[in-house]
């Protein structure tokens, strides 16, 4: 399998866990995986990306622009910010809830994510997820990253099966939160075809 997957969001949204689950699912099934994360100063309230590269013929730790098969975005503007990485014919899975930057409170530009979603829909195949709504029955929006991962797996385009991912959630997520994460994941999967 050769696949490039970019996971992006804002610091604190759980991109690192999501990318670890994808990477380890692929690895447990014998794939060669490389990944790279933005960490350090950029992490504090800033844009966060994780590049996952599956396959043998990989050299650059970052996905070359125009090569990503899929972008999983936890925030609309972050999806657009990273859209140059998506290949023609690639797919974006994006959460519709915006995260306003601090600068937005100081100087209101009215950013609400709507324009971003419209732009994405115009430019590529795009699954817009209302992660808040999916997570509402769970009583916490904390697990929305795994719900979106569920949507990505359910789309059939991630190249990772439900069974592989379930195994990772069971073994890699903090035991206290496995049950909630599984529910969020199942809720994401259940959206299959319902976009």
């Amino acid at each position: 399998m050769n696949k490039d997957i970019l996971v992006c969001g804002v610091g604190g949204q759980g991109t690192v866990l999501a990318s670890k689950l994808i990477a380890s699912s692929a690895m447990d099934n014998g794939e060669v995986v490389h990944s790279a994360e933005t960490i350090g100063m950029a992490q504090r309230g800033g844009s966060v990306t994780s590049h996952i590269r599956i396959g043998n013929e990989v050299y650059s730790p970052l996905i070359p622009k125009g090569h990503a098969d899929m972008i999983i975005a936890f925030e609309p503007a972050e999806a657009v910010r990273n859209l140059s990485y998506l290949k023609k014919g690639g797919i974006v899975i994006v959460n519709k809830q915006p995260v306003k930057p601090v600068t937005e409170s100081l100087q209101d530009t009215g950013y609400d994510g709507v324009e971003m979603i419209e732009y994405l829909q115009k430019k590529c195949e795009c699954i817009v997820v209302d992660a808040k709504a999916i997570c509402e029955p769970l009583g916490s929006s904390k697990f929305f990253n795994v719900a979106i991962l569920g949507v990505a797996v359910g789309s059939g385009k991630l190249g990772i099966s439900k069974e592989w991912m379930v195994k990772q959630i069971e073994t890699r997520v903090n035991a206290k939160f496995v049950e909630k994460n599984m529910q969020a994941f199942e809720a994401g999967i259940a959206l299959k075809g319902d976009f």
């Binding site: 350090g40 100063m41 650059s60 070359p64 125009g66 657009v80 023609k88």
Partner: protein
């Protein structure tokens, strides 16, 4: 054996452990910090592991341990090598017995550093070998070789990964246990270990004779390699080789030469690789190091080869390389059409900017705001330093007027003191930076009779680089609980007469302490003590009552990420608020309340 999916820094750590390293010292700095943290995770106690107080201390600890024949490693970021350069320059002359690897991580971009300096140049400056890995997997193997070469030539060696290698993840086969290499007792021999001009002269001559031999040795080293054929060649090193290969993986009609050991340059290898080549492109980050080595080689051997790179304007002189710049630069060198199809993004909407900010509830915000409030309407200059609190420069706080390097704020505040009679000089320093290089600055201020206020922002950790312990925390990297060094006692011992400790979240008190100090002459220190909010998780929240007149003063004054507007109305984002209560002191109508930490 087991497979571990680790960060490049983890691969470096595990490689050093396979090589039998027994003493490891360093100072935190992005992108190098996880090397020592990985060793801590796997250490069974056989390896002496420490966060030293700074890079110079780390270098010296590791040096004498290597004098005994032990294998030692020092880790730091590139600017840390400046701090450690004094011992390293001399150590290069004295040499070592056991393998000693100095890991200095470069940060092209720069992504989280003050400079875009190139550790390879430090290698040629100190005249010691440099290893330059291009992937995490290679770093794992290469650091083991680095220990062997260090021991073979009895010299410390530099190992310089860059951010993208340090922070890239890959799978490494790791042994289930590690053994440290045995070493002897230190053999006293002052003609060998005591640096005097006579020794330096003799060893300088030895080093100049030795380095070409190392260069020849490196010519047969596996990580100096050639693939492909043709009249054109691309020379690359480190991560730039990975970018070049990403573009050239399917092309055999161009030579791709990897330089894994840029110094001493493997001349024989390069000469052989250049046979039949008419034109070369050097693709590297930071200094045109390989390019200049090839220019020297071409001059020395009268080679009729055109050498292109940074000096010819083909490759950018600053910033990072990438797969995209490789495609562009190498594509144009080979005369190939740009083949990459991309989605047309020429009409990209304006994206919200997300500059890094102090966390919601960060006590530094309260400290800065207390000083700002106390000095309102008065002339003051604020010298910042290196750490999370450099972010105090951001609007609306705007409380960092200068920032240069570790510990500099304290001495820089003194410089303004001698040029401004009518102005209060402030320095802000974190607790870890205070121990790293702040104490000498305080001694300088006392001795030279400066008037200044030092604000120690003591959050009991090294926050910016990922919460490493330091001498003030009472924990070390061997897992031991040790006596905390009290910053207050250090200052008292030096003779600071006015020292106040205050919790910045007790806002009114903090402001009055600053006002009181500003009225006094001499060196005054305020220790703002409150733990890092990323460590002490708080469940407390502030709330806004219907008394709020929506004046937005809270947002305008402190810029806390938890203070947002929803449909034009000031709101507290309860997912971010930690209940620090700073905003409640700002509200003109007392509309903000709730369970605060006070």
């Amino acid at each position: 054996m087991k497979k571990e999916y680790v960060m490049g820094n983890g691969a470096i750590a595990l490689g050093a452990m396979v090589a039998g390293v027994s003493v490891v010292a360093g100072y935190p700095g992005t992108p190098s910090s996880e090397i020592i943290e990985t060793i801590a995770k796997y250490n069974n106690g056989d390896i002496h592991l420490e966060w030293s107080i700074n890079e110079k201390a780390a270098m010296e600890v590791a040096a004498t341990a290597a004098y005994t024949g032990a294998r030692t490693m020092v880790t730091m970021k590139q600017v840390g090598l400046n701090v450690a350069s004094d011992p390293l320059m001399s150590l290069a002359y004295v040499g070592v017995k056991g393998g000693m690897v100095v890991v200095s991580a470069d940060d092209p971009g720069p992504i989280s550093s003050q400079t875009e300096q190139d550790t390879r140049l430090f290698g040629s400056f100190c005249k010691i070998p440099v290893f330059d890995p291009s992937t995490p997997e290679e770093a794992f193997q290469m650091i083991q070789d680095a220990f062997d070469y260090s021991e073979k030539y009895k010299t410390p060696v530099l190992f310089r990964p860059t951010t993208r290698v340090c922070h890239g993840y890959a799978s490494i086969e790791v042994a289930d246990s590690f053994e440290t290499k045995k070493h002897d007792d230190f053999e006293k021999d002052s003609s060998k270990w005591v640096i005097f001009p006579r020794l330096s002269f003799a060893n300088h001559a030895m080093i100049e004779k030795r380095n070409p031999q190392i260069g020849a040795d490196f010519s047969n080293y596996k990580y100096n390699s050639v693939r492909g054929n043709g009249k054109k060649a691309v020379f690359a090193g480190g991560i730039s080789y990975a970018y070049a290969m990403e573009y050239l993986k399917d092309k055999d009609d161009v030579k791709v030469c990897k330089i894994g050991t840029p110094f001493p340059f493997p001349e024989d290898f390069a000469l052989k690789a250049l046979e039949g080549v008419e034109e070369v492109l050097c693709f590297e980050e930071l200094h045109p190091f390989i390019e200049e080595e090839l220019l020297k080689l071409a001059g020395k051997h009268h080679l009729n080869i055109k050498i292109r790179g940074k000096h010819t304007g083909d490759v950018a002189l600053s910033g990072e390389n990438s797969s995209e710049s490789a495609r562009e630069v190498i594509g144009s060198f080979l005369g190939l059409p740009d083949s990459c199809e991309q989605i047309d993004l020429s009409d990209l909407p304006k994206l919200p900017v997300r500059p890094p900010v102090l966390c919601a509830g960060c006590p530094h915000r309260a400290s800065f705001y207390a000083v700002k409030e106390a000095m309102k309407g008065k002339k003051a200059i604020f010298c910042g330093d290196i750490g999370c609190y450099t972010l105090g420069n951001a609007m609306p706080l705007d409380m960092v007027d200068t920032c240069l390097c570790m510990g500099a704020g304290i001495t820089m505040a003194q410089g303004f003191n001698w040029t401004h009679d009518d102005c209060t000089s402030f320095a802000f320093v974190g607790d870890s930076t205070f121990f790293a290089s702040g104490m000498t600055g305080v001694a300088n201020a006392l001795y030279n009779e400066a008037d200044m206020i030092l604000c120690v922002l003591d959050n009991s950790t090294t926050a910016m680089t990922g919460h490493q312990p330091h001498p003030g925390t009472g924990r070390n990297m061997m897992g031991d609980v040790v006596d905390k060094i009290s910053i207050q006692s250090v200052l008292e011992g030096m003779g600071v007469k006015k020292i106040e400790t205050v919790d910045p979240l007790e806002f009114e008190k903090a402001v009055s302490v600053v006002k009181e100090c500003a009225e006094m002459k001499g060196v005054k220190v305020i220790i703002f003590k409150s733990p890092c909010i990323a460590i002490v998780k708080s469940d407390k929240k502030m709330t806004i009552s219907d008394k709020c007149i929506n004046c937005k003063k809270c947002i305008r004054e402190i810029g806390c990420p938890a203070l947002i507007t929803v449909d034009g109305q000031v709101t507290i984002d309860s997912s971010l608020c930690t209940g620090c209560g700073l905003c409640s002191h700002i509200c003109p109508v007392n509309a903000i309340g709730g369970e605060c930490n006070e």
